[in-house]
């Protein structure tokens, strides 16, 4: 094990390092800039993330990313690159969606953006982690930043409650994860994923090992909000500032799926028989509970929270499908589609946020078609995509996931999943019905969007439609996104 850094290693680490420096810069600037000129900080953050993206492209061209660096803990394979791109995308969208929102809030914006960037750094490290401890540390960086962001509106009781709940349950799940890692270490004597894979390929199955695997699984299922580890989600999503909710629903989830895929695809495929059935049951329960509970919601943020739980259930089909490459493809394309459509839907909620910080009810969407027709149409597009109606990104993603489940032999789960996605249409279309069938409340003016929000909506809508109508360029990328160098 060598911990010395060669010059080429600096390049591989440059996105993470640059983003960290950017976050620190943001902290410094937040002291210098008053509340009035804060918008600048938002746009500076966009710029920082964009430069990170350019560095990422430089990294992808580097011939040195064949081997893992930093003592074998950090690996930039195509899989990690895909996830890093997705994470940067969600960061940019979040910052753009936050500018007006944070500007209107009576709290300093600099630390908000800084925390967002730090969470981003954590996620970037997570998906490159090739060692359980490295993954854990990165995950904690992301999680701690997230707890604070959830409570950003510190004078609001709901926001504080959200942060508190998120923190306590999050810390608990991190503990479970860490305990699982320690058991694995006890059995295998190493924490590197490739080493573990090699070891377990010939190792006997032991109860201690299975317990370790299951504890790691439980810790990660918490992060992706799968049943029965989902209870925090609706409260946290409802209480957090809406741009942060949108961020939670994509960024950290995407990163968590990244490490879930990496750990279970690389290190534990042999014990599929032990964790496969559990994941199948969890997936079924998550789809059923998420969709059925969403049916009962009148608050859009809570509804979208349950919808994102349901979506976690669909994506678990991909984890099950890890026996074949379909599982990996399914997760990748679905997360890409999900980022666009889910963030897009949340952005419309942000756009509508008219009564200050209170959660949005479905009736706030009444008559949106009259107030702003283009907004209503793109919202419809996101809803159709979430419900998996072609030709949208959501359909292509679900197609791959259902294929993965069929291929892996879980036909019953695939049938359940399609039935549940038909159920989901019912609550998604409550919003559609409100937008197009109901009259707007008297005296409500036309709805105007800001440039930043329009940009977010346009990016999301383009992505949602492009993946649905012309999926080839996107799915062609998948085949190269294999794990490992």
């Amino acid at each position: 094990m060598s911990l010395s850094l060669r010059p080429s290693d600096w390049l591989l680490l440059s996105p993470e390092l640059f983003l960290t420096a950017g976050g620190l810069l943001m902290l410094l600037l937040s002291v210098a800039f008053g509340k009035k000129r804060e918008e600048f900080l938002g746009f500076l953050s966009v710029l920082l993330v964009a430069v990170t993206g350019i560095l990422l492209i430089a990294v992808s061209e580097s011939p040195h990313r064949k081997a893992s660096i930093l003592g074998g803990t950090f690996l930039v394979d195509n899989f990690a690159l895909f996830f890093k791109g997705l994470i940067l995308l969600s960061l940019i969208l979040t910052v753009l969606a936050s500018v007006r929102f944070v500007g209107a809030a009576p709290y300093p914006g600099g630390e908000y953006y800084a925390l967002l960037l730090f969470a981003g750094v954590g996620m970037l490290f997570m998906v490159s982690g090739n060692n359980l401890i490295a993954i854990y540390v990165a995950l904690e960086l992301m999680a701690l930043s997230s707890y604070i962001l959830a409570g950003y509106f510190k004078a609001e009781i709901k926001s504080t409650e959200a942060a508190m709940k998120y923190f306590i349950l999050g810390a608990f799940s991190s503990g479970v994860l860490l305990y699982g890692i320690s058991l694995i270490y006890g059995v295998g004597g190493t924490l590197g994923l490739p080493e573990l894979a090699k070891l377990f390929a010939s190792a006997e199955r032991s109860n201690l090992l299975i317990l370790g695997i299951l504890l790691i699984l439980a810790g990660l299922l918490f992060k992706i909000a799968a049943v029965p580890f989902h209870v925090w989600t609706p409260d946290v999503y409802e209480g957090s500032p809406t741009p942060i909710t949108a961020f939670f629903s994509v960024g950290p989830k995407v990163a968590a799926y990244g490490i879930l895929a990496r750990i279970f695809y690389v290190a534990f495929p042999k014990f599929h028989a032990d964790w496969g059935l559990i994941v199948a049951v969890v997936s079924a329960a998550t789809m059923i509970l998420g969709n059925v509970a969403a049916l009962l919601q009148t608050n859009v943020k809570r509804m979208l929270a349950y919808s994102s739980i349901a979506n976690a259930g669909y994506a678990l089909l991909g984890v099950l499908g890890f026996r074949t490459e379909w599982g990996l493809w399914g997760i990748l394309i679905y997360l890409l589609a999900y980022t666009f459509m889910n963030f897009g839907a949340f952005t419309l909620v942000i756009l509508l946020e008219s009564r200050g910080y209170a959660g949005e009810s479905v009736s706030d969407f009444n008559g949106l078609a009259q107030r702003n027709m283009p907004a209503a149409i793109v919202m419809l597009l996101f809803l159709l995509s979430l419900a998996g109606i072609p030709p949208t990104a959501g359909f292509i993603g679900k197609y791959y996931l259902f294929s993965a489940a069929m291929k892996a032999g879980y036909a019953w789960l695939a049938v359940l999943a399609v039935v549940m996605s038909a159920v989901s249409l019912f609550y998604y279309f409550r919003i559609a019905a409100a937008m197009f069938f109901s009259e707007a409340a008297a005296g409500v003016a036309k709805l105007k969007s800001s440039y930043a929000l329009t940009a977010v909506v346009l990016i999301c809508a383009t992505g949602t439609l492009a993946i649905g109508v012309l999926p080839q360029p996107f799915v062609a990328v998948l085949k190269n996104c294999v794990l490992g160098p």
């Binding site: 078609a369 072609p390 197609y399 032999g409 049938v415 399609v418």
Partner: protein, 532 residues
């Protein structure tokens, strides 16, 4: 006419879409007259470009014609592939014709949010035609599902009192059925390629081509065929709708605006029966031959015919009455399909057209009085023959056509279907024939209550008769009804080849029953028979 160098099917499919885009981007919302003109122009243009298909179609050739093909998602093996046979040809022509009627009949009926309305009608038109043109299963599924969206909004925005309930019920029912089809499609895909669930795949390159998958599916083991048959069945059966999956239909038809009901009845219901003939029969012949499966299908069809007719008898609401009569009529189509012989299948296809013409026209007629009186209750009318004689005449013709009176189209379809059913099992034909009797009962009774006697309600005394525009929407349908009733052989010629292939696929004899051969052997058919 040589159409081989023109992507004619894509043109027919996308002209309405083009019209929708033109209206969205070029015409401001307030200029309603311009919107109507543009919408009419585009559906008329679409009908005009679809007509050459009828003349250029080679009746003597097997397989699909006017085929277009480009790669769409090579990673999955999905192609953008269009092509038609005789069955899709007649349905496409019916769709483009109905498109014009749907637009023209909405001029005065729709007074709010007109721009959105005509845009949705045009979009729906594109999606429906696309569904009939598809030769790629994946593409088919895309069209099949996306079609629900404009219909949902047509019912939900411009529908009757219970429109919200009807719209979401329509969407959920049909969606729930078709998602299982998606599982069936995935299973077929894996069976053709790398295998799944213990079935060893054939190792072919991935494809969704309907032609190739049909050949592959037909060779599948029997029990897998039965499973997949039912995966596809639900989607189609709900669309048809077969008893007991019909409960969405009365609500959707009743609450939809007139044009919506017309399109629902004339075209959307045919999607289901079209699915059976395009997919279920040729893809899963062993399942279809299975006597239990046939028994269940025929049982449901006959229950649909009789139960549908009985429920129709007791309806108090005109629109609901006609909606329920669809359940009965579509039962006939299903009976014809599962008779699995030439007469049955040809009759079923003809009856699909007939039902579109007759029931579409009846919904139009109901819409016309509804626009004048704003009530659909039969009890509110009576003696209409006096103030509205022309209207009464049109209604009479279409009611007679719907009940299957000789010389009109309904007779040809029902007679041929019964012939097919009779050849299989005399009891099937007997039970189904009771549906015809009941059909005559509910239609004549409806007619009597609406048109005969004195005008009891003063509001009806001075109702204006049909306007020129209203007659214009009805006249083509009357002409079609007479044409099919008097001289059906051009249509038999078009659908003979594909029907023969279907019957061969399910292992029946393709020899025509004698009466029919007489009736339907036009010059083209004889030529085709003479060719080797």
């Amino acid at each position: 006419m040589d159409l081989s160098h023109v992507p004619i099917l894509s043109i027919v499919t996308y002209v309405p879409l083009l019209g929708a885009l033109a209206i969205v981007f070029l015409i401001p919302t307030e200029k309603t007259a311009a919107i109507k003109t543009a919408a009419t122009a585009f559906v008329a243009l679409d009908f005009a470009v679809s007509l050459p298909l009828w003349f250029a179609f080679d009746r003597g050739r097997d397989g699909y014609q006017f085929v277009e093909r480009t790669s769409w998602i090579p990673s999955l093996g999905v192609d953008y592939q269009f092509g038609i046979d005789g069955i899709s040809l007649v349905l496409i022509l019916l769709t483009t014709l109905m498109g014009i009627i749907a637009v023209v009949c909405s001029y005065t009926a729709i007074t709010e949010r007109q721009k959105e309305y005509y845009v949705l009608l045009l979009l729906l038109q594109t999606f429906m035609i696309g569904t009939f043109c598809c030769l790629d299963l994946f593409l088919f599924y895309v069209f099949w599902e996306v079609m629900l969206v404009p219909m949902y909004f047509l019912i939900g925005v411009w529908g009757g009192e219970r429109r919200l309930y009807a719209a979401i019920k329509f969407f959920l029912y049909t969606l729930a059925g078709s998602v299982l089809m998606l599982i069936g499609i995935i299973a077929l895909y894996f069976y053709n390629t790398t295998g799944f669930l213990g079935y060893k795949g054939l190792g072919n390159p991935p494809t969704f081509s309907i032609e190739k998958l049909t050949a592959v599916a037909a060779g599948m083991p029997g029990e897998l065929q039965v499973w997949l048959f039912f995966a596809f069945f639900l989607g189609f059966a709900i669309k048809v709708p077969m008893f007991p999956f019909h409960t969405w239909l009365p609500d959707a038809h009743t609450e939809a605006p007139t044009a919506g009901s017309v399109i629902l009845a004339a075209i959307l219901l045919k999607m289901g029966t079209y699915g059976f003939v395009r997919f279920s029969l040729p893809m899963f012949p062993e399942a279809v031959r299975n006597s239990t499966v046939v028994g269940v299908m025929v049982f449901l069809a006959i229950v649909g015919i009789v139960y549908g007719a009985m429920v129709t008898l007791v309806q108090k609401d005109m629109k609901r009455l006609i909606a329920y009569s669809s359940v009965s009529h579509l039962g006939f189509v299903m009976l014809g399909i599962f008779a699995l012989n030439m007469a049955g299948i040809q009759g079923a296809i003809i009856q699909m057209i007939n039902h579109g013409v007759s029931t579409g026209a009846l919904f139009l007629l109901v819409g016309i009085v509804y626009e004048r009186r704003h009530t659909r209750l039969i009890a509110d009318y009576g003696g209409l023959a006096r103030p509205m004689p022309i209207y009464a005449t049109y209604f009479m013709i279409m009611a007679l056509s719907s009940m299957g009176l000789p010389l009109l189209n309904g007779f040809i379809g029902e007679f041929t279907i019964l012939q097919g059913a009779f050849a299989k099992n005399i009891w099937w034909a007997f039970c189904a024939a009771t549906g015809i009797v009941l059909g005559a009962a509910y239609l004549l009774w409806l007619y009597q209550r609406m048109f005969f006697g004195e005008v009891r309600n003063p509001a009806n005394a001075s109702l204006p008769d049909l306007t020129f525009r209203e007659q214009l929407t009805l006249a083509p349908l009357v002409a079609l009804a007479l044409w099919i009733g008097l001289y059906p052989s051009p249509i038999f010629d078009v659908i003979r080849r594909p029907s023969e292939r279907l019957v061969q696929a399910v292992g029946g004899a393709t020899a025509e029953p004698p009466a029919l051969a007489q009736r339907a052997s036009g010059p083209a058919a004889r030529d085709a028979a003479a060719r080797p």
